[in-house]
């Protein structure tokens, strides 16, 4: 569609030039780390001699591949955890994509009351760590057998909840699914905001029922975004560690990510990297399938030259039942976990739910040797203030740069569809997603610790932190950029070309405004994710570049639970504030 005018000359298609440039950058930032990982799977690491008599570290070997895929332990190292991972990732994707899409549609297209409020608070489950929902789940469903404070159900009704309800795949799917609802919500919302409601209205005029409109008009138009949201969520589900460990370990229910983590942690790199590569390859396969599907299916351009209008769809009789359901969801999965966090940050003695046990000490108090070994409240700690500053700066830089790169990349990919470079670029931009954070930052540390031509050694600098986060989180923006540009009819730009309007003005005057809401969604997701990043940055943080997440880690490792939760709540607050600012910027999001 976009290629109706065949314009071979490069100056009219500068996106090919920067597409090639981006490929070059990504080769350095993504392919080299991947190649290092891949090569390492074929060589004995330091653990080699201990596993295979006579092995020499560095020596070439298929040992790790055989061990993981065909050895005596293959079932327990790989196949069983892989099955578990697939089940959990698929389940959580269905939950989050289902709920997220419905909520996004309600928030953008329906006459649901209090839309602004719902849109804002629905982001929260993604801001707090994924295990917060898991924690809330356990607080309710824990059975006495596991000791400690009994679960709420057990305490109130005396029932002993079966352990498969409290632990294992079911709660994992629910906790992770809920955690990623905001993720799919934001992604799908960005697309729906761009759909011209007249398409839906025309269908309605032609006699289509409301569900038929949804099924045959709205859904197909949102499908590219839903497709990429599916892949993003599914791969996230494969890589998620904390919740899977928290809810899986008590039943010894292992997943690929818990296996990878333990291999890397025990410095058995070969084993961990083989599994990592398999994860990356399977994700690449999905990206490719998504591309193939989008290639064969009709693409739907939703933004063309004529004016567009958005009239909310009336829910009529469904309005209040739906409102009650959405409120219930918000209450149970947004406010309950948040309330638990807040309450626990106010407990003088951890774990005692009583009004007399409440204190603001861990927020504002001066050092008191009786409480938390004299650790002052978080706002009394200069390190926490420095961390707040650093985290905000890092998240802002990462989100802005990757948002911009994502848009350029998306433009280049979509407008060059069918060319191999388009496919390569899309694939490359997605690869960092699956590399475990710790492996990724380890390789970046080695690569950039020394001077490289004009780039000075980036060791210990803020720039290295930013570069790592930008690369690692690029997939959010690139996939949104691709989905957003997908929706823009090429004819809009052709009009500009015919009028001799230069590329720069076309891009800034036509593409950017139209793609804005999609890109801003990605910027928001990147911002949140960077604010929460820990494994990606843990090797790169120095005392000067301390981040809020490293403070949480520090507090938690000392069992200063209240401090940790307080910092977490500060992150929630900051993200919500920044979201407000972003919404102002992207006024067209019509929240």
């Amino acid at each position: 569609m976009a290629d109706r005018l065949v314009l071979g000359r490069l100056f009219r298609r500068p996106e090919r030039a920067w597409g090639a440039g981006l490929i070059a950058v990504l080769v350095v930032l993504v392919v080299i780390p991947l190649a290092i990982i891949a090569v390492d799977t074929f060589r004995f690491d330091e653990s080699g001699p201990r596993m295979v008599p006579g092995a020499v570290p560095g020596q070439w070997t298929p040992f790790y591949w055989i061990r993981v895929l065909a050895g005596g332990f293959a079932r327990s190292i790989f196949y069983e955890p892989a099955l578990h991972s697939l089940l959990v990732a698929l389940g959580m994707t269905v939950v989050s994509l289902g709920l997220g899409s419905i909520l996004a549609w309600l928030a953008v297209r329906s006459d649901l009351p209090w839309k602004g409020f719902f849109s804002t608070v629905l982001i929260i489950p993604y801001i707090v760590p994924s295990w917060t929902v898991a924690l809330a789940w356990i607080t309710v469903f824990k059975s006495a057998r596991f000791g400690g404070t009994p679960g709420l159900l057990n305490y109130l009704l005396g029932v002993d909840v079966p352990e498969w309800v409290a632990y294992g795949p079911l709660p994992m799917i629910i906790a992770l699914g809920v955690h990623y609802v905001p993720y799919t919500f934001v992604l799908v919302r960005g697309v729906l905001a761009n759909v011209d409601s007249r398409l839906e209205e025309s269908a309605e005029l032609l006699g289509a029922g409301r569900f038929e409109v949804l099924r045959r008009i709205t859904l197909p138009m949102a499908l590219p975004a839903i497709g990429s949201a599916f892949i993003l969520t599914f791969s996230k589900g494969l890589g998620e560690f904390a919740t899977q460990a928290f809810l899986g370990l008590p039943l010894r229910y292992y997943t690929l990510s818990t296996r990878i983590y333990s291999a890397l942690n025990n410095r058995i790199f070969g084993e961990g990297y083989v599994m990592t590569l398999i994860l990356i390859l399977s994700t690449a396969l999905m990206v490719w399938m998504n591309q193939a599907m989008q290639g064969t299916r009709k693409r739907f351009v939703t933004m063309e030259g004529k004016g567009s209008r958005k009239k909310p769809v009336a829910l009529r009789g469904w309005r209040w039942p739906v409102t009650v359901l959405v409120s219930l969801f918000v209450l149970l999965f947004v406010f309950l976990p948040l309330l638990l966090l807040a309450w626990q940050s106010l407990m003088r003695v951890d774990g005692r739910y009583g009004l007399d046990n409440l204190t603001l000490h861990y927020w504002f108090g001066d050092s008191n040797p009786v409480l938390a070994a004299g650790q002052p409240g978080i706002f009394r700690s200069p390190t926490v203030w420095a961390a707040i500053r650093n985290s905000l700066l890092l998240a802002a830089v990462t989100a802005a740069v990757s948002g911009a790169v994502g848009l350029l990349l998306g433009y280049s990919v979509v407008r060059n569809r069918g060319r191999p470079s388009s496919r390569i670029l899309e694939g490359l931009s997605f690869a960092p997603y699956m590399i475990p954070g710790i492996a990724f930052s380890g390789i970046f540390l080695t690569m950039f610790a020394r001077r490289w031509g004009p780039i000075p050694s980036l060791y210990g600098t803020f720039a290295l932190l930013a570069l790592t986060c930008i690369t690692k989180y690029l997939p959010y923006s690139s996939s949104s950029g691709i989905a957003a540009v997908h929706q823009i009819d090429g004819s809009l730009e052709e009009v500009g070309m015919i009028h001799g309007i230069g590329w720069m003005r076309r891009f800034t005057g036509i593409v950017m405004p139209l793609a804005r809401s999609g890109i801003l969604s990605a910027v928001l997701l990147t911002f949140i994710t960077t604010m929460r990043a820990l494994d990606v940055v843990v090797l790169l943080v120095t005392p000067k570049t301390v981040l809020m997440t490293s403070m949480i880690f520090r507090y938690q490792s000392q069992d200063f639970t209240q401090h940790a939760y307080a910092v977490m709540l500060v992150i929630v607050f900051l993200v919500l504030a920044c979201q407000g600012i972003l919404n102002r910027l992207g006024g067209k999001m019509e929240l």
Binding site: G21, R252, R259, N266, V401, I438, I455, S457, V541, T542
Partner: protein, 393 residues
């Protein structure tokens, strides 16, 4: 949206920088070489000269496995104003990863490491020279280190403190320890009621299992003492150590993500059937001040657990060697557990100085009676078999 020009510029910058970088990728590590280490003071330590040189260095960088390092930094700063301490708290595996990566890239950033990870430190980092063992001859209170720190804690690596990984029970529900043998943990009444942090993600818990396998004979003897008959090994099981692990798992051992989760499950007050757990003693006993009811089942047969060393080591080519020596000496503390040792002078943790009185009932000298120490060469070489056994369960 005034972001447009900025984003374009940044993209171009990124592009330019990286494209150039790709073309000029010759190794130039030499340029990133650190400041040459200042000459170390002579054989007999002259602490005044060291302190003076340290003041000139002005800085010291430490990676520590405990956030308590920040408390030690405060006292060090009070003692030696003018020397900035740049402290980072990191888990053992992260420290190892960072140190290895840095030195492989020719960056010598860190001076001192306060690290556990015994198997890797003793078998890999020290022999390869990434870490150096440095023991101050004279400590802050004038005592000679060879008189007060046992040799095993000076060689091959200086031990800063010791922590025990032991079995805890709830002393409110059980005024007397409810178990007297490790084998009790495999009895039906404790089915599903023993917890521990996942040994696959925690080195020292795997070390505990490895040590139990190494001490299979003692485990067999303890079995006989407990049940009055010789142990019958399950098919394919090599010894009583493996048999114990097998039975522990079959008895529905509950794995958790942190020692804190496990110790809360055990120590929360007001429970009818609290579980047992293996956990690190030092950080958990402390919570008893907040009403937790944790006690250590010291008299378990054959032993109650293991003791692990936290080392204090100098990095290879430490850029601030004199300040590093000063900091190491400071952190070793005095005979009262004072000075730089204060943050670690808590119940369940022991200073490596034998003249420091213990905080709890068990002293450094008695530790060996109740616990095993980890045989690092053994767990390093033979331990992966235990890990594989665990994987296959």
């Amino acid at each position: 949206m005034s972001k447009k020009p900025f984003s374009l510029v940044s993209v171009l910058l990124l592009l330019a920088v990286t494209v150039f970088a790709g073309g000029a990728k010759e190794p130039s590590a030499a340029k990133a070489a650190p400041t040459q280490p200042a000459a170390l003071a002579p054989e007999t330590e002259d602490w005044e000269a060291i302190a003076k040189a340290a003041q000139a260095e002005g800085k010291v960088v430490i990676y520590s496995l405990s956030s308590r390092i920040f408390d030690a930094v405060k006292t060090f700063n009070a003692q030696y104003p003018g020397i900035t301490v740049e402290a980072s708290d990191m888990t053992g595996p992260d420290q190892v990863e960072k140190l290895t990566r840095e030195q492989a890239a020719g960056v010598y950033n860190v001076d001192v490491l306060n690290i556990a990870s015994g198997p890797t430190v003793v078998n890999e980092l020290l022999p390869k020279g990434l870490l150096k063992n440095y023991v101050p001859q004279v400590l802050v209170d004038g005592k000679a280190s060879k008189d007060v720190i046992p040799q095993a804690f000076r060689e091959p690596a200086l031990v800063h403190s010791l922590e025990a990984k032991v079995v805890f029970y709830n002393f409110e529900t059980y005024p007397q320890p409810p178990v007297d043998s490790l084998w009790d943990l495999t009895r039906p009444e404790w089915m599903g009621r023993v917890q521990m942090k996942d040994p696959m993600s925690t080195e020292e818990n795997m070390n505990l299992l490895q040590t139990i396998v190494q001490k299979a004979d003692l485990m067999a003897a303890a079995y006989k003492e407990e049940f009055g008959e010789d142990i019958k090994l399950s098919p394919g099981i090599k010894n009583a150590g493996y048999e114990f692990i097998l039975r522990l798992v079959r008895n529905k051992l509950v794995l958790v993500t942190s020692d804190g989760t496990a110790s809360k499950a055990v120590g929360t007050a007001g429970q009818k059937n609290p579980p047992l757990t293996f956990a690190v003693a030092s950080s958990k006993i402390r919570d008893n001040a907040g009403g937790q009811k944790l006690a250590i089942a010291w008299n378990l047969k054959p032993k109650v657990g293991i003791v692990k060393e936290n080392y204090l080591l100098m990095a290879n080519k430490a850029p601030h060697p004199n300040a590093a020596r000063l900091l190491i000496r400071w952190m070793l503390g005095d005979a009262k557990g004072g000075a730089g040792m204060v943050p670690w002078y808590v119940e369940g943790q022991w200073a490596s100085r034998s003249d420091v009185p213990p905080v709890g009932s068990v002293g450094l000298g008695d530790l060996g009676k109740y616990t095993w120490s980890i045989d690092y060469p053994y767990v390093f070489k033979e331990g992966l078999a235990v890990r594989d056994f665990w994987l296959g369960l």
